[in-house]
Symmetry: C2
Subunit: 222 residues, 2 copies
């Protein structure tokens, strides 16, 4: 049985690897959606296999660490935060796959005339994920808290995107399928932002030992 | 500090209470969606507060148990399964709120002529959640595995519901808003079914110590 500290280092290294893969998955899925490049979508599908394998490995390391010996409080907080971040990263990977799938569906439906602020939503979401993971690496609770406030901007943007798409569906029945694809892609981006929030909350908990979860429920829109 | 076994009993009792609340939340949200009774929607919103409070309590008990002493393997599996089930139940509670919100939006948009198989999807989803939680209570790995196979039926039903709604949006622009509400309600039901699958997987892991996660990604539809 390897030493506790070695396994702890392992856990941190795997989590960073997982973070890198997930950031690439988001970037490629957004590129696929915007530039509609099919090769980007396929790289998201391929990368998901690695993300899923890594998630199970990290989960295994967490279980081993918990079984190995009684961790001190700060290590225990790191381990439980790692488990949560791992879970949220895996879900972000799934959502990137959903976005990539919608981008493939869009290839088959005319959508050049559709106006949408999804690129802005994608940019904000990517920045939230990046900042949450940087806060984890830097052990910076203030930086993690700063991620939490982006949530309202996401909600406003989502509402306006959905209303826009619904108007376009009403006036142009040819655009229905593409607008539905864009709505679900927007919803996936919004959910990625929620997971970024969860990660930031786990980082604050890890550093300060206080729960900052806000249990925000998404408002209906559109 | 209370005794480990007492806390373990506490954890089990709270998780059962959480299960009961979440089952009621699903039922009320589906009733709101189908019968469009506003009082059911409001009871979902009220109950969410209790569900969220209970989730934090359960999370706290899990952390205390892990910090208290080094659990034996079977207790550790129970504790980690409880943490996962807790997390999935809380998310189901959020999704029930989403469905209830869609039901309120539907009150404001004409939808009496829309054909949809959402009631069948709701029935299948409710049964999956119920069976996953019964498998947990009965510590029945076979019953938990039986939940996992319902996933394909959910996917088929989701595809046909989405295609149906898209057709109706194309032919009747008056129905767009209501069809969008129904699509998102259907998506929330599908996601509740995913969480039921996660719970069933956690039950198998708790009993047998083997990982049966399948990492199924939702296919695009519609």
């Amino acid at each position: 049985m390897r030493h506790f500290d070695e396994l702890l280092g392992d856990l941190r290294a795997k989590l960073l690897q997982m973070s890198g893969l997930v950031e690439l998955a988001i970037r490629d899925s957004v590129h696929a959606l915007e530039g509609i490049e099919d090769s980007n979508a396929r790289s998201v599908f391929k990368r998901e296999v690695d993300i899923n394998r890594l998630e199970l490995e990290i989960d295994g390391t967490v279980t081993t660490l918990l079984a190995l010996e009684q961790p001190v409080a700060s290590d225990l907080r790191f381990i439980t935060a790692a488990a949560k971040i791992n879970n949220n990263l895996e879900r972000i990977g799934d959502l990137a796959v959903n976005i990539a799938e919608r981008s493939q569906s869009l290839l088959q439906h005319p959508h050049s005339g559709i106006r949408t602020d999804i690129p802005q939503l994608a940019e904000l979401t990517e920045s939230m994920v990046k900042r949450a993971l940087e806060a984890f690496v830097a052990k910076d609770a203030d930086a993690a808290r700063a991620v939490l406030v982006s949530d309202d901007a996401i909600d406003d943007l989502r509402d306006s995107i959905f209303n826009d798409l619904i108007d376009q569906m009403k006036t142009n029945s040819q655009s229905v399928q593409a607008c539905v694809d864009l709505m679900f892609a927007g919803r996936s981006l919004e959910r990625i932002a929620d997971h970024a929030t969860n990660i930031a909350e786990a980082v604050v908990f890890m550093i300060e030992g206080v729960e900052v979860r806000r249990h925000h429920t998404q408002a209906v829109s559109g």
